[in-house]
Symmetry: C2
Subunit: 336 residues, 2 copies
């Protein structure tokens, strides 16, 4: 910038004015400055600008895994809102590791992002308190913040799971299995709670063997599924706690003989063709809502932290409407 000023024969501040489109520069002067900028291939150094202005025009997003088809659209939605506010998005994957979540969140704070959106992997976010006090607006999404008071945007995991299981019950099932994510993940617990509530609503007892929380690794899901489908008291229907579980469960069930009814939490691509009934949540809406709240905070709105819960939708496509095997024998499943 110094070089540009020298070449154009003007002061430093004048170049700054031109670069930032501020008023108070003659058309002629401006032209001379523009020429110098062009000739020198000058581009403003935003690091220096940030240092001076205090705002970085960027927001951070800590999520679980960018490669997960649920988080991709969420991140994209945040990006679009950020873009509308002239901000860039820096996102990082925690890989569901609380330490890595913290490391990433603090690294983003050190970069002085204006705001932070976090999909919690851990259960304790007090480490963010100093940062929030220092002025970094923070919104939690998909899962609530732990041990800290902050804005939260969630899907209705409890209600969604309850509706999905009630749907299976309405179709005649009495023995229903639940396979979910790790018990330290809030949504997993909420969805299990929804499952239990639906069973209780229908006055159905739950056999411990029907419930399995744990990793979403295919092997773990396969074993859980096999266990609840065999044994003395096998289930006739299965509810899956998230998209990863659904994918593996659908694969397994497709390879089996008898029909097993199925409903999964989260919609997945081509589920329509496979006839999979799901409880769909809107990942993009989740991201958009969280980002909008964040920017409202950045615009100075300072009301109490709020919890927003977005509805889920039951989409019947066939797999959830299969009656229990005993009641109606071998009703064909849809091929391909």
């Amino acid at each position: 910038m110094k070089d540009v000023a020298a070449r154009a024969g003007v002061g430093l501040k004048t170049v700054s004015r031109v670069v930032n489109g501020e008023a108070g520069v003659t058309a002629d002067t401006e032209r001379r400055v523009q020429e110098a900028i062009e000739a020198l291939g000058f581009r403003r150094n935003d690091s220096a600008r940030v240092l001076r202005k205090g705002r970085t025009a960027s927001v951070g997003l800590v999520l679980e895994d960018l490669a997960d088809p649920f988080y991709g659209p969420l991140s994209r939605a945040v990006e679009e809102v950020a873009r509308a506010h002239g901000a860039l998005l820096i996102n990082g994957s925690s890989a569901e590791d609380p330490d890595r979540e913290q490391e990433l969140a603090l690294a983003l704070c050190a970069r002085r992002v204006d705001g932070l959106i976090v999909i919690p992997a851990g259960a304790d976010h007090r480490y963010l308190e100093p940062e929030m006090r220092a002025g970094i607006a923070t919104v939690f999404v998909d899962r609530p913040a732990g041990r800290i008071d902050a804005d939260v945007v969630l899907s209705d995991s409890f209600g969604g799971a309850r509706a999905g299981v009630a749907h299976l019950i309405a179709h005649g099932h009495r023995r229903i299995g639940f396979i979910g994510d790790q018990p330290r993940i809030h949504t997993a617990v909420e969805r299990l709670r929804g499952y239990r509530a639906a069973m209780e609503d229908a006055e159905l007892a739950v056999d411990d063997a029907w419930v399995s929380l744990g990793s979403t690794e295919p092997r773990r899901v396969r074993e859980a599924l096999a266990a609840m489908l065999s044994g003395p008291n096998p289930v006739t229907a299965v509810f899956a706690g998230n998209n990863r579980v659904t994918v593996t469960a659908v694969r397994e069930l497709a390879g089996r003989e008898g029909p097993v009814a199925f409903v999964g939490f989260d919609d997945i691509e081509l589920a329509d063709l496979l006839g999979i009934t799901v409880i769909a949540q809107d990942a993009a809406a989740l991201g958009r809502t969280a980002a909008e709240r964040l920017f409202r905070r950045l615009d100075g709105v300072d009301d109490a932290p709020a919890r927003t819960v977005l509805d889920t939708v039951l989409i019947p496509r066939g797999s959830g409407e299969i009656p229990p095997a005993q009641e109606v024998s071998a009703q064909g499943r849809r091929p391909r």
Copy 2:
């Protein structure tokens, strides 16, 4: 930091040493500084650090759409490599708009990312020349750079498409359709070239009505498909140019009567259950390879820009092995 120094009763540089874990500080002094840091909730301001050091320890990635299941894993792979090198990843979506690509790439350069990975939307990247000369290492991935000499990492679009179409030909098809992305996208053109090469290899003529390039919007794809399946000279097999086209085509074909053979470029989730034969490319490997090349550049390796081409794999799953409807009955086999 000044405050920390004052509170700990030490010099500024000593605090800097502690914060950066440099040697040359007594255990006792260090403890005092740590206490002050704790008490004041101090966190180093990376903007200032960057300004001083010249390196931001961040890389930029300009891609088409983070919500696309092909780019999610690619981005994640880049992130992992960046993380291994202590760098953060800033990514932005161009939405397949050349202007937006340029805007984003330049914004990242203004932030002084150390390196840039670009999935081109546009065909002319000379706008990056000054930046590259100014020291921002740049690698193009998935599609080649336009009018500029730079590192490029690609999948073998031509070879993959050729193999896929040859596969259909080997299964008896003579009239094969091709539906691809916009003709200004390099991979679309390459894949079409592969299609033509395979047809030529088999000495098959190509009817113009069988080939359709354009948007991947479902409506456009549906219309293209309907057109080549009706008319005087209908195709018996279809090759899809990318994942988006595949999804729509598979939906459409599932709703039709007669069997139409199908092979798609790009693997998609649950394609195994749907029995879709695909040419799979490894998005993660693409990202990893590009990122590794980028960091090699950042480590000072300065050989000539190279073009790396990754192989694709044909995965037969059923849809590509269906024989043509007419031929089967002509040979007297009973269709079932």
